[in-house]
């Protein structure tokens, strides 16, 4: 536990001191701002954060791996992983400490977007339920995307490669509706279960890019589904465990 905290603190300070987190946050606020404004600026438009949620879900596909790409790739590049691995610290402590640091930064970033619902409350009468479940969904969704990102970061010493691999996996899980809708029968239904949240129809303004079949749809609607929570948490665990295994595999060779 102490080791997790030590790693966590180091990474958190690393985030605060390096420009990456600020760049990611700035682009996140910019992009989600556009989506938010686009969704509420029409006359008679609905006072909801649905537009913001859709923008966030889509762009976290790129921004989460950007936030995590340094975490393990840099340790391998600098060779500092050799010192960590020869210290009395377990692999899961290294991975969890780093993961939690990136998750904390993500939560701070999400807290920054509370500006949007505040605007809604000032100028309209929004429904509190979907805002609450929307944020709950975003927290779970970002936890999943970060776990994919840290997994990609463990694969090589190249940060750019980990960004591409991480975004690649997440894009695949986002565009899955493109494939599942074209696959007949059972295979399509199975594939559909992996629809992360976003959709291939991101540029279709009527759906705001949130897949109807995806695990985010209910959260955006104001519904808390145990199945969706279970999906996000299990997927996060799968990728975190995979990351730990990738690190441990260095001891097997």
């Amino acid at each position: 536990m102490n080791n997790i905290i030590t790693i966590f603190k180091k990474e958190l300070i690393g985030y605060i001191q390096s420009p990456m987190a600020y760049v990611v946050a700035a682009s996140f606020f910019t992009v989600t701002g556009f989506f938010f404004v686009a969704s509420v600026s029409d006359a008679f438009s609905e006072a909801s954060i649905r537009g913001f949620l859709a923008g966030a879900v889509f762009f976290l596909v790129f921004l989460s791996p950007a936030l995590t790409m340094r975490l393990l790739a840099e340790e391998q590049k600098l060779g500092t992983i050799e010192l960590l691995m020869t210290s009395p610290i377990k692999e899961f402590e290294i991975v969890l400490g780093k993961y939690l640091a990136s998750f904390t930064i993500m939560c701070l970033m999400l807290a920054g977007t509370l500006y949007y619902p505040i605007v809604l409350f000032i100028f309209g009468i929004p429904d509190l339920g979907p805002i609450f479940t929307g944020y709950l969904g975003l927290i779970l969704y970002s936890a999943t995307t970060l776990s994919v990102g840290i997994f990609a970061s463990s694969l090589s010493s190249n940060q750019l490669l980990s960004l591409v691999v991480g975004s690649g996996i997440l894009t695949l899980l986002t565009f899955i509706d493109f494939m599942s809708s074209r696959l007949p029968g059972f295979a399509g239904t199975i594939l559909q279960q992996f629809q992360l949240g976003g959709s291939f129809s991101i540029f279709d303004t009527s759906s705001f890019g949130l897949a109807e079949s995806g695990h985010f749809a209910d959260f955006a609607r104001g519904i808390i589904s145990i199945y969706d929570i279970f999906f996000y948490i299990s997927l996060s665990i799968i990728f975190i465990v995979s990351t730990i295994l990738v690190l441990e595999s260095r001891r097997w060779k």
Partner: protein, 318 residues
């Protein structure tokens, strides 16, 4: 086997390490007693770093057994890691941390619970980093980075200190300073250090293991090693018809001969000998002249390459 109980601090038996098909280290065995300072000497690519990576538990050996403080490095890796301090050849450091932040971080990671602040200050003093304690590591010169690397390896007072080429790539003045720093650490830890320069090892270590092509080719004190190396040459001769003892006696009386021993020959009509000489210039000429003058019936005279000498040629020319 009782774990945690030991006679030797480090025990390596028949350890091999393959990278794919390529053997980096081939069936090496050695032991190190507590408090010993041992130098691993060998040219680049000889297997020094690989041996150290195995000792620290970073990579497992392909075969053989390695234990540190009685703990098997693969089965009880965690216990081994508590005992060692390690500085890899590349001196990996986080460039965005200050010296003091980094050392405190490493002390915690290495399992220290109490007295971290005090110990870090102590180590900063030992390694002469007082002026740079608040400086970002990325801004330090190579020599000071090296000191920071050494500082992190000793901060938790490890029983075994493993330093891989600790003076490579720093300027001559800093080399001298770093050497004396390492020398001063020798007393407190069991120290293993690798180098490809003989003088470096001989100033710090009381024992030298020479590694070449993944094998240990010599294990001696630096004095004896240097003595053996100082211009010696080995020749093999075959002579006919003479009693072995006479030949030995004759050669022993020559001032340039260090040693002579018989060698079994497949042809029974010859007597073969290995002669070790102290000088290298025109030894063959002297030997052949001696054999002919004494009518021993010279049939063969070959100058043998001394493998160790070849290696040291690479070692002594930096």
């Amino acid at each position: 086997m009782r774990t945690g109980w030991y006679v030797f601090m480090i025990k390596v038996s028949h350890m091999s390490k393959y990278y794919g098909e390529y053997p980096a280290v081939l069936d090496i065995s050695f032991t190190v007693k507590e408090g010993e300072t041992v130098g691993l000497l060998g040219p680049n690519g000889a297997g020094k770093s690989t041996t150290m990576k195995v000792l620290t538990g970073f990579t497992p050996p392909t075969s053989g057994e390695v234990s540190i403080g009685g703990f098997d490095i693969t089965k009880n890796s965690f216990d081994v890691r508590k005992m060692i301090g390690y500085l890899p050849e590349s001196v990996p450091l986080y460039s965005d941390m200050s010296v003091i932040e980094y050392l405190q971080f490493m002390a915690k990671i290495r399992g220290m619970k109490e007295g971290i602040v005090k110990r870090v200050n102590e180590v900063i003093e030992i390694t002469g980093l007082e002026e740079y304690r608040k400086v970002l590591i990325g801004k330090l010169s190579k020599g000071y980075r090296q000191r920071t690397g050494i500082a992190q390896s000793i901060v938790h007072k490890p029983k075994v200190l493993i330093l891989d080429e600790p003076t490579i790539g720093i300027d001559p003045v800093q080399v001298v300073e770093t050497r004396s720093l390492i020398q001063s650490l020798g007393g407190e830890h069991t120290l293993i250090l690798s180098s490809h320069i003989l003088p470096e090892v001989s100033t710090i270590c009381k024992r030298v293991l020479v590694i070449h092509d993944g094998k240990i080719v010599a294990d001696d004190s630096p004095e004896i090693l240097s003595k053996r190396l100082r211009s010696t040459q080995v020749c093999e001769i075959s002579v006919t018809k003479t009693a072995k003892l006479d030949v030995i006696k004759l050669f022993r009386s020559q001032s340039y001969v260090v040693d002579i021993r018989t060698k079994a020959d497949s042809n029974p009509s010859y007597n073969s000998f290995i002669i070790e000489t102290s000088s290298t210039d025109s030894v063959e000429e002297k030997i052949s002249k001696l054999i002919i003058e004494n009518g021993l019936g010279l049939s063969k005279l070959v100058s043998l390459p001394l493998s160790l000498e070849e290696i040291f040629l690479q070692l002594t020319t930096d």
